[in-house]
């Protein structure tokens, strides 16, 4: 049982949660993720860790409501419980003194890129951040990113905030204007692919953080396999960070669409009566909390 100690909306459909998870808070490094299962009938989904406070024993995650589980999760509030949280999983991002680094992020990807940008800065790199979103109300953590970056560009597709345009256009200009040693891209797959297409011919080392579908997160099932340099790699244990030039994004997109129909069914069922689903989750998890207390009491 994992208690939500803080929940606040960050943008339209995006919510930030601070969750009590002392073991994870102590061990996590930027770039790693957790897997959550909300309740007894829930699926397991991976979510990138955005921040942690080892002293308080908490981790922070940002969740965009896209599928059934993330929609239901974003209905949770402070004081609610999540049944299962496991991590930190995956390899931490490689943090070295590279020189000039550009961190490109789209939408909720900014929440995931932020801790890595912060560590890159701490490691003595020059950090240029390029933050994008479809519109102003989908933009997250702009101030936090600015605080750890030497230069920050903010773009929206519709021009409702910052510059109007795509992150890749801005990246192209940055690459033309100065020598860049490392590019990190976190966001929707088409965005990461566009970044890879831009940097690969220039031979600039580029890292992407892949969000493939996972079950266990420990290498046991192989469901998250991605084609990297034409061979199968498991995003959960070999990643989630990979060399962008070697990733087959086509296959990643196809595999991410594998359960599209089932996802639609689940969303429809949730939307038919979201209140009932939330009530069920709360009741079930309260029952689990009672059972756990009973077990602990029996050991005292």
């Amino acid at each position: 049982m994992f208690e939500i100690v803080e929940a606040r909306p960050l943008a339209r459909g995006i919510k930030q949660f601070v969750i009590k998870a002392p073991r994870i808070a102590k061990k996590q490094r930027p770039g790693q993720f957790i897997i959550v299962r909300l309740d007894e009938s829930g699926e397991r989904i991976p979510l990138t860790i955005a921040d942690a406070d080892p002293q308080a024993g908490t981790i922070t995650i940002c969740v965009q409501a896209i599928g059934k589980t993330t929609m239901l999760m974003n209905m949770l509030e402070k004081g609610d419980f999540i049944l299962d949280v496991v991590g930190p999983l995956g390899k931490p991002s490689e943090i070295e003194q590279f020189g000039t680094t550009v961190v490109v992020s789209g939408s909720v990807g900014t929440a995931m890129a932020y801790p890595t940008a912060r560590e890159l800065k701490r490691a003595g790199n020059k950090v240029v951040s390029i933050v994008g979103a479809r519109s102003k109300d989908l933009l997250v953590l702009e101030d936090e990113v600015r605080a750890v970056s030497d230069k920050t560009y903010v773009l929206t597709d519709d021009g409702s905030w910052g510059e109007k345009g795509l992150v890749t256009e801005r990246l192209k200009q940055v690459l033309e204007s100065c020598k860049v040693d490392l590019v990190l891209a976190v966001g929707p797959v088409p965005m990461m692919r566009a970044v890879a297409n831009l940097t690969a011919p220039l031979g600039i080392k580029t890292i992407v953080s892949l969000n493939s579908i996972m079950v266990d997160g420990t290498g046991m099932c192989g469901g998250c396999r991605v084609l990297v340099n034409n061979s199968s790699q498991f995003a959960c244990v070999d990643g989630p960070d990979f060399d962008a030039a070697q990733v087959n994004f086509e296959v990643l997109m196809q595999r991410n669409n594998m359960y599209r129909e089932q996802e639609r069914t689940s969303i429809e069922l949730l939307q038919a009566d979201p209140g009932a689903e939330l009530k069920k989750l709360r009741e079930e998890n309260a029952r689990h909390a009672c059972a756990l207390d009973a077990v602990e009491a029996s050991h005292d």
């Binding site: 699926e43 079950v215 997160g217 420990t218 099932c221 192989g222 469901g223 594998m258």
Partner: protein, 493 residues
């Protein structure tokens, strides 16, 4: 040695005339469409009838051939006395999970192959009897617990909650140690819950066996990936564990490494079974975890072991139009239990022998549509002593297939090895452990089950768990004896 008094009223010559009792089963036509248990188990009268067949050998081969040495003879005698709870606690002296082993043990190669009745006729149905007493105990809400030794104050951490770990936990708690089991997944039981399907081993039974261990004092913690969430060194140095038993299971799924394996619809058996069993995807959308649809489609399972049988029979129950086993050798070489193969055939699984997939084919959306295979013939025996298959040139053929499940074994998961300094591994990446004690190269750390041997059976893992418990107990006793070097050092100081 004089024989102990027996509760069997029949003379031996009458006993050997009794036929082996047939265990009731769900009708194949019905069960092929549900996930309920296939074997229904003996009612009490049948258990008594079967027990009457035991001729109480002086040197019982059944006990010798049991990896955990269950005292079968004494158990059978207690059944005949009508003391089912006594029989259950007698089993539990050696076997922490009788309701499970009574269902999944390959008894034809173990206890039952040691039964002297099997030489001329059919052996005593030992597994069914073991299952009977465990089920009786559970169904009547009773609990045949052996009495534990006084507390030692020593704390042992067990990594993984599969059969090796649970068997080890049962023995260690009995010896008076504190036992803490760490599980990476959200549910306890390891392969018993993510691997073996409901129709062969209902999850309620696994849950009950774990509850029994919990009542005996074992502490369980889920959602801990040792190597990630916490390391073995941290457990020993910061959390006060005196010894560790690593039993994390087989690990990474092997794929065939042929083109097209990334198409949607190609699964490892591990993933397919985890979705169906652990995540209850067969009850989607009541449960959220989705499964690539098998309903009215052609499903091929590549492999010939018990995992392949579990996968293909699951696919059938999910409504597959056809569910087939594609195996590269012949039925004779298949590692699956004979009973599982029979069950699969009765249910309508198709078996295609001496074939191997060479390529998976898909459409423009990346969805699997068919598989290209090649026919094979058996050549010379390989390292395993089995004749190895050789492809027949020009024999390729393409079959329609929407879901392909690869059950070609597993390899070692490096998670613990790579995060535990001083832990030696074998050439193939498994943890190196001494044969007699299961001690690793790291003091106080023991390892057993599939992470040492590679993929094996539930009962062999349990045997390893018991062996480790014994060695850990010895190790912990040794901790209390002052070491000569230390004593000397104190004097010098």
């Amino acid at each position: 040695m004089t024989k102990p008094p027996s509760n069997n009223p029949l003379p031996n010559k009458e006993r050997i005339k009794l036929p082996r009792q047939r265990v009731p089963e769900q009708d194949p036509q019905v069960r092929a469409h549900n996930f309920q248990e296939v074997n229904l188990g003996f009612p009490a009268e049948q258990a008594r009838q079967e027990s009457l067949r035991c001729i109480e050998c002086n040197k019982p081969g059944c006990i010798d051939l049991c990896p955990v040495s269950v005292n079968v003879r004494a158990v059978i005698d207690l059944i005949l006395a009508g003391d089912y709870l006594g029989a259950a606690s007698k089993v539990r002296e050696d076997n922490a999970l009788p309701a499970i082993t009574g269902r999944v043990c390959p008894v034809e190669d173990q206890c039952e192959s040691g039964c002297v009745l099997g030489k001329k006729g059919e052996p005593v149905g030992i597994a069914y009897l073991e299952r009977f007493v465990a089920d009786w105990e559970r169904e009547t809400g009773q609990f045949g617990s052996p009495v534990a030794a006084p507390a030692t104050g020593k704390k042992v951490g067990l990594i993984g909650s599969g059969p090796a770990s649970l068997a080890c936990a049962g023995d260690l708690i009995q010896m008076g140690h504190q036992v803490h089991v760490f599980e990476a997944l959200h549910e306890l039981g390891g392969v018993l819950v993510y691997g073996i399907p409901e129709f062969r081993l209902p999850k309620d039974i696994v849950r009950h066996e774990i509850d029994v261990l919990r009542r005996r004092g074992v502490v369980f913690e889920t959602n801990v990936v040792v190597g990630k969430t916490v390391t073995i060194d941290e457990l020993m140095q910061e959390e006060g564990f005196n010894a560790i038993f690593i039993a994390t299971g087989a690990g990474l799924p092997r794929f065939l490494n042929v083109p097209g394996e990334h198409f949607n619809g190609v699964y490892s058996a591990n993933e397919f079974l985890t979705r169906v069993n652990l995540m209850r995807a067969y009850r989607f959308p009541e449960y959220d975890e989705p499964l690539y649809p098998c309903q009215d489609r052609d499903v091929i399972v590549v492999g010939g072991g018990n995992t392949a049988m579990d996968a293909v029979r699951s696919a059938l129950r999910l409504g597959a139009k056809s569910a087939s086993i594609y195996y590269r050798r012949t039925e004779k070489e298949m590692p699956a239990r004979v009973e599982e193969v029979h069950h699969a055939k009765d249910e309508g699984v198709h078996f295609e022998m001496l074939v191997n997939p060479v390529e998976f084919l898909g459409d423009e959306k990346g969805n699997l549509t068919s598989v290209k295979c090649i026919r094979q013939e058996l050549g010379e025996p390989d390292d395993s002593g089995r004749r190895s298959p050789v492809p027949i040139k020009g024999s390729e053929f393409v079959v329609p297939c929407h879901v392909a499940i690869i059950a070609a074994g597993t390899s070692a998961n490096p998670l613990i090895q790579s995060t535990t300094p001083g832990l030696a591994v074998t050439k193939r990446g498994y943890i190196a452990a001494k044969e007699d004690t299961l001690a690793t190269s790291k003091p106080g750390v023991f390892a057993g089950g599939d992470i040492v041997t590679g993929g094996a059976t539930v009962i062999l893992a349990m045997g390893a768990g018991r062996k480790a418990a014994k060695a850990i107990n010895e190790y912990l006793k040794g901790l209390d004896e002052p070491k000569p070097e230390q004593a000397q050092a104190t004097v010098q100081a």
